[in-house]
């Protein structure tokens, strides 16, 4: 701890301070986790608040507009004004709604997303709240609980639009969860652990992000994640042009804002997991050397790296939403079941083949260093794995094209049709000509 980095002393200083009041056990198991949890919840809540601002600004810029400009400089205080408005708004419960379920559904939604943050490794050392040996499974299982909130909210509202939205969203989330979970298996086979911190360290020790080995899985995970979060172009449950607002049609005020918060927090979860599993988490080459031996600075820089990676993914969310039209419900299900799930199954098989090839080649090419904690590969081994990964992309594309060769939507994805230009002579009635055209 050199004096140059006194700025980053607080954690140690805090540690010493806390040890004066509590025993070591208590500090380690209770106080620190509580501090971390508080920090994460605050940050995520602030993010959910400002995500609306970012969303509005980015969409405005993409649409040649300015976005919010009136509250504060550049409208920076707009989210706070919105929050105050939402919190003070009347909390309506429809007369025929199931009052208890209607009231508690938003809390399930928020809880399910926020609990997930407890295992996301934001940085090494004190950047992790807890490291569970089933981290990834934990994330998947808790986020699957979020479905309940939507289906209950939709059902308890006692409104047809809400019910349709609830059914749609739950079907959507259940089916995309499958491909989302399966797409992670390939990365697990390389990392050989379910712990999210373990996956990050596996990438750090290999100096390769798993996106290089698993481009196909990354694409599947991202698409499924966007669908899982009900974001455009998969925002069917809340498709405002069809179902008004889907499952939260009847919600207003604070409960609505809880759903809203859960949606943006869930985006962070998916972005965080994608970063951890495929983009190397907090690992970035050279950061360790940059920190110059200061552990706290290293953790802090890693945190920055993690947040930057996540920000890129979150920008992608906004970007996609404001570029694409919305899928139709059956097309969405088609995409989930006929494209994503076969692709993720293929990915598992292909990853197994890759690892088998790596091991088989080991005698000749010297590919595998060890299989102990994560598949540690030599340079040649990495090359082979990356090659196999990208080959997997093409194989998957061919496989899917073959699988869906009769599908309507696949066959529609052809380039534009030309429109006939009919030059009717000036002044001549077009009726005769039209009849001739039809014949």
């Amino acid at each position: 701890m050199t004096s140059t980095f006194a700025l980053f002393a607080p954690p140690n200083f805090l540690d010493d301070l806390l040890l004066r009041f509590f025993g070591e056990q208590t500090v380690n198991y209770v106080v620190w986790p509580f501090i971390q949890i508080g920090a994460v919840i605050t940050l995520v809540a602030v993010w959910a608040l400002y995500a609306s601002y970012l969303e509005r600004k980015i969409s405005a810029f993409m649409q040649a507009r300015l976005g919010p400009m009136r509250v504060g400089k550049w409208g920076l205080l707009q989210p706070i004004a919105d929050a105050v408005k939402l919190l003070t708004k009347e909390d309506l419960v429809p007369e025929k709604a199931d009052p208890y379920i209607f009231r508690y559904a938003p809390y399930i939604s928020v809880a399910a997303t926020f609990i997930t943050f407890s295992v996301v490794p934001f940085a090494p050392d004190w950047g992790v709240i807890t490291d569970v040996n089933i981290g990834l499974l934990f994330v998947l299982s808790i986020s699957s609980v979020g479905v309940l909130a939507l289906i209950l909210a939709g059902w308890s509202s006692n409104s047809k639009y809400a019910l349709l939205g609830g059914l749609r969203s739950s079907a959507q989330m259940v089916s995309y969860e499958v491909s989302m979970g399966l797409s992670l298996v390939g990365a697990l086979m390389f990392a050989r652990t379910l712990s999210l911190s373990g996956i990050t360290t596996a990438q750090a020790s290999d100096s390769v992000w798993f996106i290089a080995y698993q481009p196909l899985a990354f694409a599947i995970f991202l698409i499924s994640g966007i669908a899982e979060n009900n974001r455009a172009p998969f925002d069917l449950p809340e498709a405002e042009s069809e179902l008004v607002a889907g499952f939260h049609t009847e919600y207003s005020g604070m409960r609505w804002s809880l759903f809203f918060m859960a949606e943006y927090a869930a985006m962070v979860v998916v972005a965080g997991v994608a970063t951890t599993v495929f983009l190397g988490g907090w690992y970035f080459p050279g950061v360790y050397r940059l920190a110059g031996g200061s552990n706290n600075l290293y953790v802090f820089l890693s945190l920055v790296v993690f947040i930057v990676k996540m920000a890129v993914l979150l920008y992608l969310y906004f970007w996609l939403r404001w570029t694409f039209p919305r899928y139709r419900y059956d097309q969405l299900m088609d995409l989930g079941w006929k494209w994503m799930i076969p692709a993720s199954l293929l990915n598992i098989v292909w990853t197994a083949v890759t690892i088998f090839v790596l091991q088989a080649l080991d005698g000749r090419l010297d590919t595998v260093e060890s299989l102990n904690r994560g598949v540690n590969l030599t340079g040649q081994g990495k090359g082979v794995a990356v090659f196999m990964g990208f080959a997997g992309l093409f194989i998957a594309a061919l496989f899917l094209a073959y699988l869906n060769r009769h599908s309507r939507d696949f066959n529609l994805k052809k380039q534009r049709r030309e429109i006939k230009l009919v030059d009717v002579p000036k002044g001549a009635p077009a009726v005769a000509r039209a009849a001739a055209d039809n014949a």
Binding site: Q63, D409, L412, K413, V422, K426
Partner: protein, 377 residues
């Protein structure tokens, strides 16, 4: 149209697999106060019925009690998106009943501005249609170009939307100073902008999935229902009043009629985009050929068309908008009847929607390009 029984008791999806869903009158994508009663099996539309009249103002009846020049502002409020075209129907009908000779400059200015109005109407259609299908960005890009046109309207007519553009016998004012430059600037910039919309939509696989094969109507059916405008041309019928019964200055101008092939939503989308390009071409030509001279004909002090009846129609942005006028020789019309393109196009909704999903109903309402002000009148 046949009636759908609206069930009042609470029902579930399995009690009665056919669910009745009320879409509208307050719904984000019924383009106004249209109520569509859908009978659904799951999410498939079995049957639907349109409930209209929420915006009825009795315009045709009002017109019987007004002097001829007073009626023109009411026409603006039919299809308020295309007020300039609507106004043209009325003044041309009265002018032709009176047998007035309109100076050519007025004809050219009318042509330019109605074509700009067609572009602005199509832009608003594109904006809302894309919004219905979920492409939000196109909405604001299209509204930006529409704003340019509305600025020209404001300069020329003094109003942006309901312009009260024309007077019987010509125009209230000559083209304003800088009219040519403003229009020329728009004409220059517009093709690039259409290309941008096409970049976002035309080849996008989601857009294709949402529009190709949706709301198919065959040419024979379209003619039988009485569709007109781009909805008809999307089905492959090359019918355009600008060609078949040229009015204003269209007879002197060179343009093509875009015609679809399959009669689905995607074809209608392409037809309208191509129509915007053709409109731009017309504006460009008319701007070059525009003669100098007066813009008003000599008109009598009190307008009293000779007794008799007359029908005149033009090709509005939504289709054939016509006026049937019965005069008894007094200063007020005996009967005014509007031939509303949107109302007649709406008749095709049921045929187009049955068998599709709820999401497609939204797309089909969008592709019909209806304006409730004109349907309810």
């Amino acid at each position: 149209m046949h009636q759908v029984e609206v069930a009042t008791t609470q029902e579930t999806l399995l009690d009665n697999p056919e669910m009745v869903l009320n879409m509208g009158p307050q719904h984000p994508s019924t383009h106004g106060v249209l109520r569509v009663v859908l009978r659904l099996d799951g999410e498939t539309v079995i049957d639907l019925d349109c409930d209209i009249g929420f915006l009825h103002r009795g315009m045709e009846k009002i017109a019987e009690n007004r002097l001829y020049p007073m009626i023109a502002p009411y026409w603006d409020r039919l299809d308020y998106i295309a007020a300039v075209s609507n106004g043209l129907v009325w003044v041309e009908t009265v002018e032709q009943m009176l047998g007035l000779e309109i100076p050519p400059r007025a004809h050219y200015i009318r042509t330019i501005l109605t074509e700009l109005n067609r572009i602005s109407s199509h832009l608003l259609w594109l904006a809302t249609h894309a919004l219905d299908i979920g492409a939000f960005t196109v909405l604001l890009h299209a509204l930006r170009e529409r704003e340019e046109i509305l600025k020209i309207f404001e300069q020329q007519f003094g109003a942006r939307l309901t312009c009260h553009a024309w007077r019987i016998g010509g125009m209230p004012n000559d083209a304003y100073e800088g009219f040519t430059e403003d229009v020329q600037r728009f004409v220059d910039i517009f093709p690039k902008r259409i290309d941008q919309y096409e970049t976002l939509l035309s080849e996008n696989r989601i857009w294709l999935g949402r529009t190709v094969g949706i709301g198919v109507i065959s040419a024979a059916d379209a003619v039988a229902i009485g569709l007109s405008g781009p909805s008809l041309r999307g089905s492959g019928v090359a019918w355009d009043i600008r060609k078949s019964r040229p009015y204003a200055a269209y007879a002197d101008l060179d343009f093509d009629i875009p015609v679809g092939e399959n009669g689905d939503t995607y074809d209608r989308y392409l037809v309208r985009l191509e129509e915007m390009r053709q409109s731009r071409r017309i504006v460009q030509q008319a701007l070059k050929q525009m003669p100098d001279g007066p813009v008003n004909a000599k008109i009598p002090k009190v307008i009293k068309p000779p007794a008799g009846d007359y029908y005149h129609s033009i090709e509005g942005p939504k289709g054939e908008i016509g006026c049937y006028l019965v005069s008894d020789g007094t200063s007020r019309p005996y009967r005014v009847r509007v031939r509303p393109p949107c109302l007649i196009n709406l008749q095709a909704l049921r045929q187009m929607c049955v068998g599709h999903l709820v999401a497609d109903v939204v797309a089909i309402i969008g592709t019909l390009d209806i304006v409730l002000g004109e349907i309810d009148r």
